[in-house]
Amino acid sequence: MDNLRIDALIIGGGIAGMQSALDLADQGFQVALVEREPSIGGRMITLSKVFPTLDCCSCITTPKMSAVAHHPNIHLLTYCEVQSVREHGTGFDISILQKPRYVDVSKCTGCRDCEYECPITVPSPFDRNLGAYRAIRVPFSTAVPQKAVLDPEYCLWCGKCEQVCPVEAIDFTQQPETFNIEAASIVMATGFDLTPMETKKEYGAGKLHNVIDPLMMERFLAPTGPYGRVLRPGDGKEPTSIAYVQCAGSRDETLNITYCSRVCCMYAIKQAMLISGALPMAEITIYYMDIRTFGKGYEQFYQNAKAMGVEFVRGKVASIKEDSDQNPIVKVEMTDIGEIVERTHDLVVLSQGIIPASSPILRGGSTQAVSLPLGSDGFIYVPAPDSAPCVTERAGIFVTGTAMGPMDIVDSIISASAAAAEASAYIRENGNRVEAHKEALYA
């Protein structure tokens, strides 16, 4: 990999990172987009449909992924990690590690012959480990780039993939490579993780069979999901009574997470609506403290869900236990009437909150590559949110999307464009653009 000199480095290839990259590239800036996974798309590409329009999620994500891949001003660096960032004038010297794919991307055509031949089945994190893929595979059907990647942790080095590859792209000798990028600015789009299920003992600490996280439900509902239908992971049965437990990882001082995760109300309502479409007989209950449907069109979405028969019960779920048939039992005070109910459901979705991504770019002693101060909530600190919402403490480094706090897709995309505006102004004002821009030939 050659060293690069660019205007902006975007760290993170989720929806926010992609949007920032596109906005900068459309203005003619040279951009590099670094993604630690083998494909861009981030969390959004794993979702089913998006609220409040119920658009098919991949229909919105894949065109952006494709636009990123084809943009003449964007250097796409997948399966790469940022190792260090050093100030260099008003810009930065960044060291990037290219992790070995064991596949020559210049040869691979994404035909997946290797994948079909590979004897090793591996649980797929893309499907929240509900489904499986092979030790060598194209990460998912709409992955960008459409290139195979081999997982050395599971590979038996049997060589079958090498034998079937029609273009001799398999290369077991690949080594990690380091290269440098000189960038005039950086946009942090490092995204989020879910509050771990294990943290809340009262909710079974992740050990109950039919208590799942919301991203699992997204995979159940997604047309590309592992099963193509909603079922109980415990026994594969079709659930007829499904409950959402709101604030399962937010607004809870016992977890040390006091903030609101902002998206859970809406995704729970959205999933409830999608489930009622997929399982018309299913009864769905949402246990909540406050319904926070604050965005454009969100309140109406909530009212529609109520009208459709989704039951909303006010009360913080105190505990979830399991009966002998592995049915989760939810105990809650219905605060409107002051009664304690213990209800048995077939499936419970914990509306876990959003925590900052566990990216080693941000934390972890010696691996801390971009030293940026964090707020008390653990997200990247923004010193002046009411005058410069995307500007961090370090000049030339900007932040966008869920790296700066819980945010839905609309707000992430807007924030991504705003970060692009800040970064481009910074680059211009410091007068260190790298080269005359290229125009997208067939935009």
Binding site: K201, E202, C247, R251, D252, E253, T254, M289, R314, G315, K316, V317, A318, S319, K331, V332, E333, M334, T335, G338, E339, I340
Partner: protein
């Protein structure tokens, strides 16, 4: 019926403790996690809500206040760390003060200076008073009741008991009237059964035992909060019974107080075992409060400490006396111990209606009303059926 808010009420209750309860946002977690809260009698949130809005009457008339054993589950899991368990304790203190017609309980709970005076003064007075009537302290043989005539103790005791009973009764009636609520005409209650259930519950502390420990981290039985509490209660009751029996024997002229009996004498044996239990229970409670083992022992008022200390002192001094009785050559200390024991016990009795001690009665009343169920009314025979 609408109720008017009183924003000052919570401030009033907060004088009795209730650390951080203002953080409560009424999510209901406490009520649902509570092993004792049941429909029809939900708590703690209901009580917290009454306090927040200043609905004083519903709060004082709620038996739920006393159904809580303060296991601390609500406090441990509260998403706002508003400490509902401690609030319940504070609300109980507030209630004790409200039921108490003398106003002493309120002073004890809310004024550290007054409570300090009240804690030391009566004991001192009792001690001095009794000392004024004291006799010799023979050293050749232990003759405790030569030193202080049993009659004085008994008379003081009986007078004290009567006064105490009056005060307690006033508080109990106060509470009962509030908790009972309006009588529904035509509905009869099975009060016999309720009394029986109350007795069983008071003696066995079953609810505490069954519901108040989380299964997962239950310690060995003798370290459980339930056992510590129960051993204190049994110890106290045992000593009370032993003392009463002893007095009864004298009244009946069977055996004069102070007559030497072997340690296997049934009454003495009961006293010994009860004393051991009391000392164990109170000592463990001490340790827990000092270590702040969990939410339930984190916050302690002077009044809580006073109650505990007096129980412990009474227990330990009583026990020392018993040892002294069986020692071949007891020292002069035994007489002082007796004086101390009587002062402490007297103080304990005096404090009963005004401190945490009062929960013994109020809880019993609450349990009684909790157990009181309407008697199923027999279906009237259908007219014209024959």
């Amino acid at each position: 019926m609408s109720a008017r808010v009183d924003p000052q009420f919570l401030t009033e209750i907060k004088k009795y403790g209730a650390v951080n309860i203002e953080a409560c946002f009424n999510c209901g977690n406490c009520t649902a996690i509570c092993p004792l809260s049941t429909n029809g009698e939900t708590f703690p949130r209901r009580i917290i809500r009454y306090a927040q809005l200043g609905l004083k009457e519903p709060l004082l008339s709620s038996k739920e206040l006393w159904l809580c054993y303060y296991c601390g589950e609500c406090t441990r899991t509260c998403p706002k760390q508003a400490n509902p368990g401690e609030f319940m304790a504070a609300a109980r203190r507030y209630a004790i003060a409200s039921y108490d017609p003398t106003g002493l309980a309120k002073a004890l709970y809310t004024s550290p200076i007054l409570s300090a005076i009240f804690l030391v003064l009566p004991a001192l007075l009792i001690g001095l008073g009794i000392y004024a009537f004291h006799g010799p302290m023979p050293t050749n043989a232990l003759k405790l009741f030569d030193f202080i005539p049993a009659g004085i103790i008994h008379n003081f005791g009986v007078i004290g008991m009567i006064l105490l009973a009056v005060l307690l009764l006033a508080g109990m009636v106060n509470m009962s009237i509030k908790v009972k609520g309006e009588k529904t005409p035509g509905v009869h209650h099975d009060w016999m059964r309720a009394l029986w259930e109350t007795l069983i519950e008071v003696l066995t502390q079953q609810r505490y035992q069954q519901d108040c420990e989380t299964e997962a981290d239950k310690p060995v039985w003798y370290l459980q909060k339930w056992f510590i509490h129960a051993s204190t209660l049994w110890g106290f009751l045992g000593l009370l019974v032993a003392t009463a029996l002893d007095y009864g024997l004298e009244v009946l002229g069977i055996k004069a107080t102070g007559t030497w009996v072997p340690f296997w004498n049934p009454i003495r044996l009961l006293g010994t075992i009860a004393g051991l239990l009391l000392v164990y229970g109170t000592s463990m409670a001490f340790v827990r409060r000092i270590r702040k083992s969990d939410a339930t022992s984190t916050y302690s008022t002077i009044s809580d400490w006073a109650f505990l200390i007096l129980l412990w002192l009474t227990g330990v001094s009583g026990f020392l006396l018993e040892i002294a009785l069986y020692l071949p050559q007891p020292g002069i200390w035994a007489y002082w111990t007796l004086l101390f024991h009587i002062s402490a016990a007297g103080e304990l009795l005096i404090l009963m209606p005004f401190t945490k001690f009062a929960h013994a009665m109020y809880r019993a009343i609450a349990i009684y009303f909790h157990a009181l169920k309407p008697v199923p009314v027999a279906e009237p025979a259908k007219a014209g059926a024959d």
